[in-house]
């Protein structure tokens, strides 16, 4: 790729006419003032967790300083303010994923807990021996281990949609895999290792025709793509706040009202009940039925601000920006003959991070080397051990992007990859 082409990509990214400028965005993120090992921080680990803008951090600060109270059960001013703000975020989340009912949004700790809630409550009640659960070979452990455990407990079979060598779902036998006895189809909308964007609508459609219920792991997709869960028609959608500018300790389960209404809660205590006697307990209405105990109030309120921030940027613009970054990164990496890329090479059909390996340098050593240059990447199995092994390795290196990343960051990475080979004496 020549420097003129490079310029075009840069333009495509920051000059899309929507005022989307990562250089400006970066100024909202205090962490970029920090030096890492004497270098400027180049953060390429947003698939693990994103950095947070001042708008979010300040809300947490303000909440604890001037508003802090427990929610729902309080009659005093602070409690009422906290409750109003806490519930306002629920409305924002309902709107953000395509305009669902507020009762369909359940606060959880993270995406992992959201998926487990479904596997445990819906799964235990509806999955029996002889049934089939379908997931894919590219699932994160969060959408893999709960189903392994459920199938072990119930005797249901767990069947995987395989992947092609270039990192797409292999859909040629999908009609057989999603069989008439399939009760649950759970899959990720975007792979955290390969970046693949899966055709969830089609798969959901087929699953529904077979009478199965569907769960979409949106941990990687909701932060990066415009989402319309109603158009998608997923029965459940799980995602985490911390991967989309929000605080840690907060995640979400969307579920269709009718299905949630028929599910038993899994955690019991305050707030989730409507009446308790010594020998009797009755459940509260949605969504509270699934929210026992004091929730992450500060986190929820701050996440409202994260959604405002993303909405102001526009999810379409974010997707376009990232598509540009990924295309550029793939181009540049393809030029390096010592780098093997895992996953699709077409930026239209992928998002997320780029996983790759140096043919000689182990991902750990590479990550440590890059860190000394201020570049934060991730190395390991990325909580998708069986997938990583499919590619014949124990670990890969992953560089993942978000709204604050620029072409410069990718250039720095490419330089780092070259220098690593010199340092480890392969060049």
């Amino acid at each position: 790729m020549k420097s003129t082409e490079q310029l075009a990509v840069t333009k495509n990214i920051s000059g899309n006419g929507n005022g989307f400028d990562p250089e400006v965005i970066r100024r909202d993120f205090p962490i970029f003032k920090r030096k890492i090992n004497g270098r400027r921080l180049i953060y390429l680990d947003s698939a693990a967790t994103t950095q947070k803008p001042n708008a979010v951090i300040d809300v947490i600060d303000r909440y604890y300083k001037f508003q802090n109270a427990n929610v729902h059960r309080g009659l005093h001013t602070l409690a009422e303010e906290a409750t109003t703000a806490f519930e306002a975020t629920r409305d924002k989340v309902a709107k953000f994923i395509g305009g669902v009912k507020r009762e369909e949004i359940i606060y959880t700790r993270n995406a992992t807990e959201a998926i487990n809630l479904v596997a445990q409550s819906w799964g235990q009640a509806n999955i029996k021996k002889g049934d089939r659960i379908v997931i894919t070979q590219m699932e994160h452990h969060a959408n893999l281990v709960p189903w392994i455990v459920l199938s072990r407990k119930t005797g249901a079979e767990l069947v995987y949609i395989p992947i092609t060598p270039d990192g797409f779902l292999d859909l040629k036998d999908i009609g057989k895999i999603i069989s008439a006895n399939t009760k649950m189809v759970a899959l990720t909308q975007m792979s955290n290792v390969l970046g693949t964007i899966n055709p969830v609508e089609d798969i959901i459609d087929l699953a529904h025709k077979r009478g199965a219920v569907t769960l979409v792991d949106g941990a990687q997709s909701v932060p990066h793509l415009p989402i319309d869960v109603r158009a998608m028609d997923a029965d459940f959608l799980a995602f985490s706040a911390h991967k989309m500018l929000g605080p840690t300790g907060l995640g979400f389960l969307y579920g269709k009202e009718e299905i949630l209404n028929n599910m038993e809660p899994v955690v019991f205590g305050g707030e989730m009940i409507s009446e308790v006697k010594f020998d009797y307990a009755d459940w509260n209405a949605l969504p509270y039925k699934f929210e026992a105990g004091t929730p992450h109030i500060a986190g929820a309120i701050a996440f409202g601000s994260a959604l405002d921030y993303l909405n102001a940027l526009g999810m379409e613009n974010i997707r376009n920006h990232e598509k540009g970054l990924i295309a550029y990164a793939l181009e540049k990496m393809k030029e390096l003959d010592f780098i093997k890329i895992y996953g699709p090479l077409d930026s239209e059909r992928r998002g997320g991070g780029v996983s790759f390996n140096d043919k000689d340098i182990h991902p750990h050593d590479l990550a440590t080397f890059l860190d000394m240059m201020g570049i934060a990447v991730r190395a390991g199995h990325h909580c998708a051990q069986p997938l990583t092994r499919l590619f014949g390795v124990n670990a890969t290196t992953r560089a993942s992007f978000y709204i604050y990343n620029t072409i410069n960051d990718i250039d720095a990475l490419i330089t780092g990859l070259k220098e690593a080979r010199r340092y480890f004496k392969y060049e």
């Binding site: 009422e80 009940i273 009446e275 509260n284």
Partner: protein
């Protein structure tokens, strides 16, 4: 004390609280329901005696705060003689009033206007609505069971 508080605890409301209407047991009960405010445990019992589609008499018993007791008492007062359709309409108007929407109000609310002060106290809205939601749930359940009977006898 402060102005919003006076607006909440208006004299009419406090009068209803102290002398609640509808405390006499009914001879014939055609509609019955119990309600709870899960936030605080307040409890209400409502019963109606009907004459055709009209409310002939009403019994309301509320263990709760001034707002919920007074609201239940006002309910007892206003729905006497009204048809169940009218009752549902009044409930809608009160709901919008409490949620702060300007009601294009063709209905005569009488004492119920006094509930307006609750708007400034969002956590108390549930108290003001407890009797109304309990009653409306009962009416809707009755209608649903009637429909079911009709369709099963068709």
């Amino acid at each position: 004390m402060s102005e919003p508080l006076d607006d909440l605890y208006r004299d009419i409301l406090m009068e209803h609280f102290r002398y609640p209407r509808g405390r006499n047991k009914l001879e014939h009960v055609h509609l019955h329901n119990e309600g709870q405010n899960p936030v605080c445990g307040d409890e209400i019992e409502i019963a109606l005696e009907l004459e055709g589609e009209k409310v002939k008499d009403i019994y309301v018993s509320c263990m709760g705060c001034a707002i919920s007791v007074a609201s239940g008492s006002m309910l007892a007062e206003i729905i006497k003689g009204k048809s169940l359709e009218e009752v549902k309409k009044i409930a809608e108007v009160i709901k919008s009033m409490l949620k702060g929407k300007e009601s294009r109000n063709e209905l005569e609310l009488g004492d119920l206007e006094a509930l307006k002060g609750v708007r400034k106290f969002p956590v108390r809205i549930k108290c003001a609505l407890l009797s109304w939601t309990t009653l409306i749930d009962a009416i809707l359940a009755k209608e649903a069971s009637k429909k079911a009977q009709i369709s099963s006898s068709e």
